[in-house]
């Protein structure tokens, strides 16, 4: 931690950065911290378990425009940055990507493309609690599972915190904001809540890194991230793509290989 702080102070003093995005202590735990001077670096805290996923700010022009940015990344944030680079959302050496590994080693990635070899070694796995819920849901019949999710989504107030927390939900116009045509009703209702979540999850299929920021952000405590996690598992089973690792040869759902199984077509 001290190494991290020392590095940030050095960067501020040398003028290499004007903004460091990290975490500081909030009322109910860690919260995002936009540090703008060497003297404030002292407040910074870090752990790889922290939420939210700070990579979400890198695509927000109002945050990063005209700034020289360093971002202090959890492993999940690193995964997100690798994906964002693959989708042309961040540039080659636009940001200083700083990471403190679980064994307290300070790492600085010069480019998002350098992240892969590091995260390749670290599997993206759900927490023990999440795994238990997934197993419980897997054991249900599809009717029971539908009823369980319907009950969960009945609490949704359509605040879109899940969308705001997700680094991969960077579209300037989300499908729910599209009103010509209005595919999904804007108000909270059982049908439109379900439609929104199904759309959200499908739009993240093959892109989600499994950080869980969406679930953590939900003010109603709906475990929406479990839907994403389940899809990550399905992708790993069916396409052999390791969860949370940006695939080098195009994303799962938009590429095709001649030797792909076609047993469902004939």
């Amino acid at each position: 931690m001290d190494k991290l702080k020392a590095k940030l102070i050095e960067l501020f003093q040398s003028g290499e950065i004007t903004l460091a995005i990290g975490y500081k202590q909030g009322t109910r735990g860690p919260r995002p911290f936009f540090c703008r001077s060497a003297s404030d670096v002292e407040q910074m805290i870090f752990s790889n378990d922290y939420q939210p996923n700070l990579a979400v700010y890198l695509t927000k022009k109002e945050v990063v425009k005209d700034e020289k940015v360093a971002i202090v990344c959890t492993i999940s944030a690193l995964r997100s940055i690798a994906y964002l680079a693959r989708e042309n959302q961040i540039g080659q050496s636009q940001y200083k990507i700083i990471h403190l590994s679980p064994n307290d080693e300070l790492m600085i990635f010069r480019s998002p493309w350098d992240i892969d070899p590091y995260i390749e070694e670290i599997p993206s796995t759900p927490s023990e609690d999440d795994r238990r819920v997934i197993e419980m849901l897997d054991a249900m019949t599809s009717e029971e599972r539908w009823a369980w999710w319907a009950a969960q989504f009945s609490k949704c107030i359509k605040c879109y915190a899940c969308r705001a927390a997700c680094p991969m939900c960077y579209c300037t116009r989300c499908i729910v904001d599209n009103n010509r045509p209005q595919w999904i009703d804007p108000w909270a209702s059982p049908l439109s809540n379900m439609e929104w979540q199904i759309n959200r999850v499908m739009h993240l299929a093959g892109r989600c890194v499994g950080c869980g920021a969406c679930g953590a952000a939900c003010p109603e405590g709906i475990p929406v991230h479990l839907l994403n996690r389940k899809i990550l598992d399905n992708i790993e089973e069916n396409f052999g793509i390791t969860a949370g690792l940006a695939p080098r040869e195009g994303a799962v759902l938009n590429t095709f290989k001649p030797d792909d199984k076609e047993n469902f077509i004939k």
Binding site: Q89, T172, I175
Partner: protein, 666 residues
């Protein structure tokens, strides 16, 4: 407020017999925005079209819905009628109340209701329709013909004679295909080579034809009028420019016992070889699999004896690209794998052969110089049995179709045998004699009546060997199912025609469809027999289904005419049903966020990323951009775009949404 006209067609009894068309028209009149709604017996007829045109002019319609047959049939008819009445043709929509309704449902209230729902959906769609105009694309007036059998030769010559450039690609060292292997041809018994080889030479000499033998198409990109083909010129280890075809190399080659493909594995050839004396080009190729040099690194005898230094060992394959406007696929057929006929002893008994092998025996250029001799001991068979339908019309062997050519060539084989072996006896086991075609049945009657071929209606159960004879056990169903046993000297199987090896692969490379037997699929079995579902790619010959020579030549000329018609214009008009990425005023410019995932997903490589710049040239935003010439309107990107920034013209999100809502809400 829209002014929409609804025109309900009875299609005679086709729709009118099941759907209450009058009621559909009356109910449709009540849909908001419908100005006029009427029904007529045949909307596609001249008076029917006049009703539409007059309504557009008199009522000032801004949209038309024709409730009739599938848009595949008459969409263009009605769009043209609208255009004549000065309405943008893309403001005309078809509600398919025939294929989607009257043909698939019983007469009744519910069927009429469904027809009305289909009309309602299209009325809501047409309200959101935007006027579109056709896209013009240039045409490369050069054709690619794949396969140099009689189909490819005919197609290439016809296109070339129409004044267009042709590239003919043949995977074997010589053109000619299966026809070059045949002895005589039915129903006239003229020599196959005598009629084919002049055509082969014409191809080689034609100024408009570029011939690539020993070459294969590796890939095809692009679209009608603008294809790019990648062709692999396999290294034949002989420089065709230097080679004079003197034949020194083939006489000196130490590897002399390679089964000859041209002789259907009945004769032998050398490792450096010319398939047949009449090959085009008549220049050798080194078969790397059997060549001593390629196997052991030593020999090069051919190089030593070659007077012009034409042997080029270890030259790599060359890949060339050619821009072409149309493709004719003529890759032909193959005979069924003979391992399937264990009950007939094929492979076990040397004297059980296939029809193609018999052709080589009967051919003057064949291994026996045209004398019918047994492969086992070289004696002349005195008794010969032909088994028709070996593998065809046999659901148990997974091939329920008729191979079409076997009845005729079996009659021909039996006839040729009788002509050559005057004291011989021939028998033909058959299921049915299918001799439809000009002079075909007469030909079979001639075999039976004049040449004394014994036709036995029934199937052969098995063939086995006893004392040097082949015992053929079968049944004569015309004699009340009596068992027959024939002691034959030789048995000829009329093996089924099957799709060529690699047909499935090629179809995938060309993006054309194929059936479950891997024969290429035509766009319409009756009305578009030489077109594929991919515009600009045509079919001819036995790659589509087993065909005889007259049918193959007819199809090849048909395909050639299609190509010539395509090349008759400098520009091609295309439907404007293409995807577009939205653009809007600053500061948004486009809702596209430039994730570029659509670039990967587009099967036609039509999408690229484009920079939107300010006047000083600074990049403001990078967004997707779709080439309307390449886009085929499949809509994959539309479905994939998360922010719905891509729309398919003519099937936009708004149009489809209105249509679906109309179906759900009523």
């Amino acid at each position: 407020m829209s002014k929409i006209g609804v025109f309900v067609c009875h299609c005679g009894e086709n729709i009118g017999g099941t759907v209450d068309c009058e009621k559909v028209a009356q109910e449709a009149a009540k849909i908001p925005g419908v100005e006029v709604s009427t029904d007529y017996k045949y909307m596609c007829s001249d008076p029917g079209q006049t009703i539409i045109k007059n309504a557009i002019k008199e009522k000032g319609l801004d949209g038309v819905v024709v409730a009739a047959c599938s848009p595949r049939m008459h969409e263009s008819t009605f769009r043209a009628a609208c255009a004549e009445a000065c309405l943008n043709p893309y403001m005309c929509e078809i509600a398919n109340i025939r294929e989607h309704c009257s043909w698939v449902h019983e007469k009744g209230e519910a069927t009429t209701q469904k027809a009305l729902d289909l009309v309602r959906m299209q009325v809501e769609k047409v309200k959101k329709d935007l006027p579109l105009s056709t896209i013009k694309v240039p045409v490369t007036k050069k054709a690619l013909v794949i396969g140099g059998g009689i189909a490819g030769i005919q197609a290439a010559l016809d296109i070339a004679n129409a004044g267009h450039k042709v590239i003919l690609v043949e995977k074997e060292p010589s053109i000619g295909g299966h026809m070059a292997q045949l002895s005589e041809t039915f129903p006239t018994l003229d020599c196959s080579q005598c009629i084919l080889t002049p055509r082969m030479v014409e191809v080689a000499q034609h100024p408009n034809i570029t011939l690539y033998t020993y070459a294969e198409v590796e890939g095809l990109e692009g679209f009608i009028g603008n294809f790019t083909a990648r062709i692999r010129l396999k290294a034949r280890s002989v420089d065709l420019e230097k080679c004079t075809g003197c034949g020194m190399c083939t006489t000196k080659c130490p590897t002399k016992k390679v089964p000859s493909e041209f002789n259907a594995l009945m004769g032998l050839r050398t490792a450096i070889y010319v398939p047949s004396p009449q090959s085009v080009p008549n220049k050798p190729t080194i078969d790397k699999e059997h060549c001593v040099y390629y196997k052991t690194g030593k020999c090069k005898l051919c190089e030593k004896v070659c007077p012009t230094g034409a042997i080029t060992f270890d030259a790599p394959d060359e890949i060339i690209t050619e821009e072409v406007g149309a493709v004719v696929v003529c890759t032909g057929f193959d005979v069924a794998p003979t391992s399937e006929f264990s009950e007939y002893g094929y492979g076990r008994y040397k004297d059980v052969i296939t029809g193609l092998q018999f052709e080589r025996l009967a051919s003057a250029s064949g291994p026996t110089m045209g004398e019918i001799r047994r492969p086992s001991d070289g004696t002349v068979p005195k008794k010969i049995v032909f088994i028709a339908c070996a593998g065809s019309r046999d659901a148990a062997k997974g091939r329920p179709y008729c191979s079409k050519i076997c009845c005729m060539y079996t009659a021909k084989h039996a006839m040729l045998y009788q002509h050559k072996v005057h004291d011989g006896e021939s028998y033909v086991f058959y299921m049915d004699i299918r001799a439809g075609g000009k002079n075909y049945d007469e030909f079979v009657r001639r075999a039976i009546e004049e040449d004394g071929v014994n036709y036995i209606r029934g199937r052969v159960a098995r063939v086995y060997e006893r004392d040097g004879k082949l015992i053929v056990k079968g049944v004569d169903t015309l004699l009340g199912g009596e068992q027959v046993e024939i002691e034959a000297d030789m048995v000829v199987l009329a093996t089924a025609g099957v799709a060529n090896k690699g047909a499935e692969d090629l179809a995938q490379k060309l993006h054309i469809s194929y059936d479950k037997y891997n024969f290429f699929a035509e766009a319409h079995p009756k009305l578009k027999p030489v077109e594929t579902n991919t515009a600009g790619i045509f079919l001819a010959g036995a790659c589509q289904s087993p065909k005889d020579i007259p049918d193959t030549v007819a199809a090849a000329s048909g395909a050639a005419v299609k190509v010539a018609a395509l090349f008759s214009k400098d520009q091609l008009l295309r439907e404007p049903v293409v995807a577009v990425v939205n653009r809007m005023p600053p500061p948004v410019f486009s809702t596209c966020v430039g994730c570029s995932l659509c670039v990967d997903i587009c099967p036609y490589s039509a999408i690229t990323m484009e920079n939107i710049k300010d006047r000083a040239g600074n990049v403001i935003k990078t967004v997707a951009s779709i080439n309307p010439g390449l886009c085929q309107g499949c809509g994959t990107c539309v479905a994939f775009c998360r922010s719905k920034s891509i729309d398919l013209q003519g099937f936009s999100n708004e149009e489809m949404y209105s249509s679906v809502m109309a179906a759900l809400h009523e």
